[in-house]
Amino acid sequence: MSLHQRRHVLRRLAAACGLVAAGALAPAAFAQQTLNIVTSFPKDLTAIYKKAFEARNPGVTVEILSRGTSAAIAYVREQPANNRPDVFWASAPDAFEVLAKENLLEKFNGANPKVPAKIGSYPINDPEGYYYGQALAGYGLMWNTRYMKAHKVPEPKEWADLVKPVYFSHVAISSPSRSGTTHLTVETILQGEGWEKGWNQLLQIMGNTAAITERSFGVPDGVNNGQFGIGIVIDFFGLSAQASGFPIGFAYPSVTAIVPANIGLIAGGKNSALGKKFIAFALSEDGQKLLFEPKISRLPVLPNMYASAPKGYPNPYGGKIQAKVKFDSNLSRSRYYVVNSLFDHTVTFRHKELTAATKAIHEAAEKLAKKPNVRGKQLLEEAREYAYKTPVSAEKVADKEFLALYTATKRSALKTKEITALEEYWGREALKNYARAEDLAKQAAALAK
């Protein structure tokens, strides 16, 4: 390249840089009204709502801040007032309780009068008026029909089914600390069966899992592409997968709760007026109708929408979905972080040991069924006791002082130490128990000769 040509290239480069800079600044010049929504909902849903709202409100840009539920709470908490997003939109009502308690939500009169006060015995809107139910969701089981056929696994109907040996290593779930919906599912089981029986059942189911995924979507994703057979999921994951053409089956067990997904106005948002408008839209007939979109597949809170619902669409007001559990979200809020931490330290991080113990228990049970042995049965019962022991007693978890340990926001070095010591203790105990259980189960199996 001659010197002249090189200078030519340079001039072109400079012009290009100038254009780029202009392009970068241009949007700032035509500043529009911006609405910021922080949400844990997937792009499929937010894109549809964004388009619809922007179409109805020219001059408005909707910006979506995508965060998992816990990360979204942390995000809102860390922004200074007047620089916060405007709307918080997530599935888990207890997340909203956490925010309301920290005065991060703003009360305003935005309820849609056509929305009933309760679903079953659960209030749809916050009685204090800080947030509103925008869609309804139940929790259930989704499965991959091809996988089930290939592995000859029967379709499950209840949570309790999942403790059976036939489901070993075919189940997937996410962790309550990283998924608001999983947290709700775990709380539903705990409240439905009682703390101690609930943990017992939960640990047995977890022993049958193949993986604890990082985000709630990892579960339906894995079931969709056939990696896992059964996923414990919120209903729209199963329904939207079916609608997208995946070979999926879905069912609501009877120990389920129908709980609203909520929307609330954040206190100190940059554009609260727009936030209120969006909330009104989401609660209106137009906004509710969007929930029927196949990629979204959620249940509207407006009862009259179901007259025009697609065929076979679940109707929570129709009485077909038995929701036996009366969900207490105050209770859930009070032990939010404890449940997260307990689950992680006894299940998520000890997954290998828990599943190994469960495998040994299933094998021993199978052998003993063929060749019964009294001592073997005793050992097996002991093994089950060790493996599925409740990590923290019901009294302790109701103790206010114990719960207070987890609720402070600023972690001093001392508090961090206390908490980590406690978590460490849980983890070690769990490890010990699972190892012991595995050992006992193997002994029991050896006796079945």
Binding site: V20, E63, L65, E214, G218, K295, A413, T416
Partner: protein, 566 residues
């Protein structure tokens, strides 16, 4: 009269120093500070004690070392035979090996990871076939194995190309003397050839180790969070920016990365690798026996298939309608590409914008530093060079945490927005992280330009500024363009810092977009389509960079590969 501190160069040096200080040194120092601060202004090791007291953190620490180490091992296993074949034998497949040296690097590992899950996963294509035919399955994507597998296949070219360069530089007289003394075959390889190839191997291995150790995107996509980088990310985002454990994890990552860099430099310092004669260099080439031919080609084909797997997988996923528990997708469609181009052109524009600005800044700063070092005597410029290069050892997630902490609460002057929420911070992160590559290109380009050309200009009356503008820069344009393209390409697929710094979806570049798309059932097709587009952009850039470099100078292909490092 030349002074010790000529005004113009000194001003430039100070400007660059200020930039590096503000956006590299201080954020990283902040992270280190918080890890050791007790909240009242004093020094404490209690956070480190807490960290090692949490079994999850201990596990994550060992897992990270294990994954990085095993990735190096497997990358070595793949790369060393290939390097040896290329160099030792007269080989018509040499072009294949060169392709193998580039192909894995044009797809970022987190994009390929999703596809690898579908091909090698529990119910992936390979295992379904194996189960049907032989009744066995291979848990190659289970748990940490999946991360090691994906990373090794992606990063082995670093070791491959560096070894080829080293092997090619071995003086043939070394080999001849050894053979004269009776060493042949494996002994010759083990005691003469491999040790002489050590510099290349160690350089490549250290780089692979650092990159795998610091990688955030791949573990997240594969749902493996018991590693240092994901733990740091999760703790800071879910528990809060105050959480000290996340900072401890960050400090450990930085420490190990710096250690790996230092170890590779130290390892090579003590060895004497200079060769005596400038005659024929490189090992003697032999012909392949038929048996050896089969082995060699067989190995190459196997590696080629492995390397192509993520590419094929992503292609199938982007065109497939439903891919569930089957060897191939059920049916094919163009709708994913259409929807991506229709609904997400903004992401593509964002990538072009951010990476363009970052790459432009990189070459400007890179040229300036190179000129300061090679042409001026401003004291202290070596420090600038060192600092800019040290950015290689700073993981993206750590830099992002540093930014979020240091600039917390700052507002942008003319916009009603927080600095930490704005896209400008993303651009700065890219600039800082990709600066080492641009710096290397610009330095190489300037080194090859003789100073007499500038002196001639000055003799004819041009002042310094004019000389730089009209002689130096135009002559360097090859290196500058190569540096620009390299910076641009590697920034386009960066995910670690991006995940932490992107707030609004509007501001998301393609890499974040792919991550976001992969979060929903209907989004995997579009996500894969976006991934294909990203790979195409990177491939074009690689090709362009390759043409520019190899046509302008004798800089070897190894430098091209080193510069592409994701």
């Amino acid at each position: 009269m030349p002074t010790r501190f000529p005004p113009a160069p000194t001003a430039v040096a100070l400007l660059i120093a200020a930039f590096l200080l503000a956006f590299l040194v201080i954020p990283v120092a902040t992270v280190v500070y918080v890890a050791f601060a007790d909240g009242a202004g004093g020094f404490t090791l209690s956070h480190f004690q807490s960290f090692f007291g949490i079994s999850l953190m201990r596990e994550s620490f060992w897992n990270s070392l294990y994954v990085a180490g095993m990735s190096v091992v497997f990358a070595t296993l793949i790369a060393v035979p290939l390097a040896y074949f290329t160099v030792r034998f007269q080989f018509r497949g040499a072009i294949l090996i060169q392709t193998l040296g580039i192909l894995p690097l044009i797809m970022p590992p987190f994009v390929g990871a999703v596809a690898m899950q579908l091909i090698f996963g529990r119910s992936g294509s390979v295992n379904l076939l194996l189960n049907d035919w032989f009744g066995v399955t291979v848990p190659i994507m289970d748990g940490l194995n999946g991360v090691i597998f994906v990373e090794a296949i992606h990063y082995f070219p670093f070791i491959l190309m560096n070894m080829i360069v080293s092997l090619n530089n071995i003086d043939s007289s070394m080999e001849e003397s050894a053979q004269n003394l009776g060493a042949f075959g494996l002994r010759l390889f083990r005691r003469i050839v491999f040790p002489l190839a050590m510099p290349g191997f160690v350089a490549g291995a250290a780089l692979v180790f650092i990159k795998v150790f610091d990688d955030l995107g791949t573990p997240l996509v594969l749902h493996q969070t018991n590693l240092l980088a994901p733990q740091a990310f999760l703790r800071i985002t879910s528990i809060g920016i105050e959480d000290p454990i996340g900072y401890v994890a960050s400090v450990i990552m930085v420490a190990f990365s710096l250690f790996a860099l230092w170890a590779s430099a130290w390892f090579m310092r003590g060895k004497e690798y200079a060769t005596m004669q400038r005659g024929y260099s490189g090992l003697a080439r032999r012909r392949l026996t038929p048996g050896q031919s089969v082995l060699a080609y067989g190995w190459i084909v196997l590696v080629l298939l492995l390397v192509l797997a993520p590419h094929i997988g992503i292609l199938l996923l982007s065109f497939g309608k439903v891919w569930s528990f089957s060897v191939l997708p059920d049916s094919f469609t163009l709708e994913h590409f259409i929807s991506v181009v229709k609904d997400s052109p903004r992401m593509i524009w964002n990538t072009i914008l951010y990476c363009g600005i970052a790459a432009a800044l990189d070459v400007v700063i890179g040229t300036a530093i190179a000129y300061l070092i090679l042409r001026t005597r401003v004291p202290g410029v070596r420090v600038l060079d060192f600092t800019a290069t040290a950015a290689l050892a700073i993981p993206g997630v750590v830099l992002a945490i540093g930014y979020l902490r240091t600039f917390r609460g700052w507002e942008l002057p003319f916009a009603d927005e927080l600095f930490t929420s704005s896209w400008i911070l993303i651009v700065i992160a890219y600039t800082v992280r990709r600066l080492p590559y641009a710096l290397r290109s610009c330095t190489a380009a300037l080194q090859q330009m003789h100073v007499s050309l500038e002196e001639a200009g000055e003799n004819l009356g041009a002042n310094k500024a004019r000389t730089i503008r009209r002689i130096v820069v135009p002559l360097m344009i090859g290196g500058i363009m190569a540096g620009f393209v390299t910076s641009f390409m590697t920034a386009a697929v960066e995910l670690s810092a991006t995940i932490m710094l992107v707030t609004a979806q509007q501001d998301a570049p393609m890499s974040y977009g792919i991550y976001l798309f992969m979060q929903s059932a209907a989004g995997r097709g579009p996500g894969a389509a976006l991934g294909v587009l990203a790979v195409v952009i990177v491939a074009i850039g690689t090709y362009v960079s390759h043409r520019i470099i190899t046509s302008r100078s004798q800089v070897s292909q190894a430098h091209v590969v080193q510069n592409i490092g994701v």
